[in-house]
Amino acid sequence: MSIQFKTIQQLREMLDKKVISSEELINETLKLAEDLKDLNCFVTMNEDASIEKAKKIDQAERVDSTLSGIPLAQKDLFCTEGLRTTCSSKILSNFIPPYTATAVKKLESAGSITIGKTNMDEFAMGSSNETSYFGNVHNPWKKGYVPGGSSGGSAAAVAAGIVPAATGTDTGGSIRQPAAHCGITGIKPTYGRVSRWGMIAFASSLDQAGPLARSAEDCAILLNEMSGHDSKDTTSLDIESKDLLHTINQPIKGLKIGIVKEFSLDDLDSEVQNCFEDSKKLYETLGAEFIEISLPNISASVPTYYSIAPAECSSNLSRFDGVRFGHRAENVEDLNDLYIKSRSEGFGDEVKRRILIGTYALSAGYYDAYYKKAQQVRRLIKNDFELAFESIDLIMTPTSPGTAFAFGSKGAQNPIELYLEDLFTISSNLAGLPAISIPHGKVNSLPAGLQLVGNFLREDQILNAAHIFQQNSEFHLKKPSMEEF
């Protein structure tokens, strides 16, 4: 029986009924990854260690975790002890972390098996996976098309059915947008829900880890394990984590869904609009109520983000200097020259561009006008959400203005063209809110995503709404033909 396109729960059943052993499952998964290597969704495989762990699980007397023996892929931005972690950058192309990120450790402690590290936009900076030092990832639905980004490798690996789920990180939409472009489900939790310890930082006040999977239910299974306080991360929330599966199947009658007045869909492809209207109708038949809300400062989200995120990136990426880890330039004149050459050789163009914007925004004379101003506008955006959530339970938008596009077709002349990919996703990072993307139709034969944004710490509510949608539709069950690969 093929293991391709199986969910976590289907694989669990196969393992429990001994249809397949854990070792066989891992071998099949690794073979699938090898057969589909043209997708380029993996940077590094973890063959020996994963087979070894699978053998141990097979020898164990009883299975006491849902994830025991389940293969997962980790975005190559989570540090994994002894397993190369590159952030898809030349500067970290030889980096072997001495420790494992808390989020990954929690998943592995629950019995899951890391089969490899997935390709991504360099340092998570991008929305198309085209900034990776290790090359483009193909969208499983169409060769030569982007999978979205930055968690493009994770999304492609799940969409191609290699693994049932993968980890991602989301700073401005990097879980939700690739999930939408690849026709799968991905959730960005509330800021502080999942530990950031061991995640290589891009923008520390925006970054948050979360799962990508074939259903909302599988996302809930993974998020249950990933969540929780971590004393090693000072921004990790010290609160009890609810069991997200407990409430996932509740009826949604009476659920109040906000539609943002300022997000005009008129400029979008008519098929994107149709998908959105159809999803609204489905929710209405399930008993949800739609209410128009106003987020008056939402148009400031993209400029606010492109001031704050590069500023934090320029600070975080100052640690890459060729001294303690990562690429080190040769033939240097002095220490300063070592820094400049190591960084200039090691970083790609998009990363350099963002470091430079951030350095400018933080430099003397410009700090108040750009960085401080953006943080003030950020508060206005957060206040707008707080007010809106007084009358609604969640907000619904398309995840992305369009669907996957051909390699090289966006952003080459003007980077802002690509930055607008994150138009609908960025604001929840600025406000720290949880948000999920679920597939809800096709536009020009490519998957389109629906985004549900929840109130602070209300992952339970968006997962519930997403699950009920999936119980009443089949978009999440669609599979790419994979004939081109």
């Binding site: 690429h327 750009y370 508060r379």
Partner: protein
């Protein structure tokens, strides 16, 4: 955004831009800074900056020793080190 400003930012960021890419970078930065400049249209008088969505960060914990000496593990990733230190080009003559 002129060439001199770009040169200064590059120095502050310890980055060198290839000559053939300088004009493109200059144009891109100009475009992006102009977009960010649009924020001045938003009234933020008496609005406190929001540096983190949680507002309260930096939880405190007991200052206790909780790991072994991992010097060797950490030195292993350096391109140049001796048994105790990371090595860099000479900085003091």
């Amino acid at each position: 955004m002129d060439q001199e400003t770009v040169r200064t930012i590059c120095y502050l960021a310890r980055l060198q831009i290839d000559a053939d890419k300088a004009q493109k970078i200059e144009n891109d930065l100009e475009t992006i800074i102009e977009m960010i400049g649009g924020l001045k249209e938003f009234d933020t008088e008496n609005v406190q900056p929001l540096y983190s969505p949680l507002e309260k960060t930096a939880f405190m914990h007991e200052d206790t020793e909780n790991s072994d000496n991992q010097k060797e593990k950490f030195l292993k990733n350096a391109a140049a080190s001796n048994e105790d230190y990371f090595l860099v080009p000479r900085v003091v003559e």
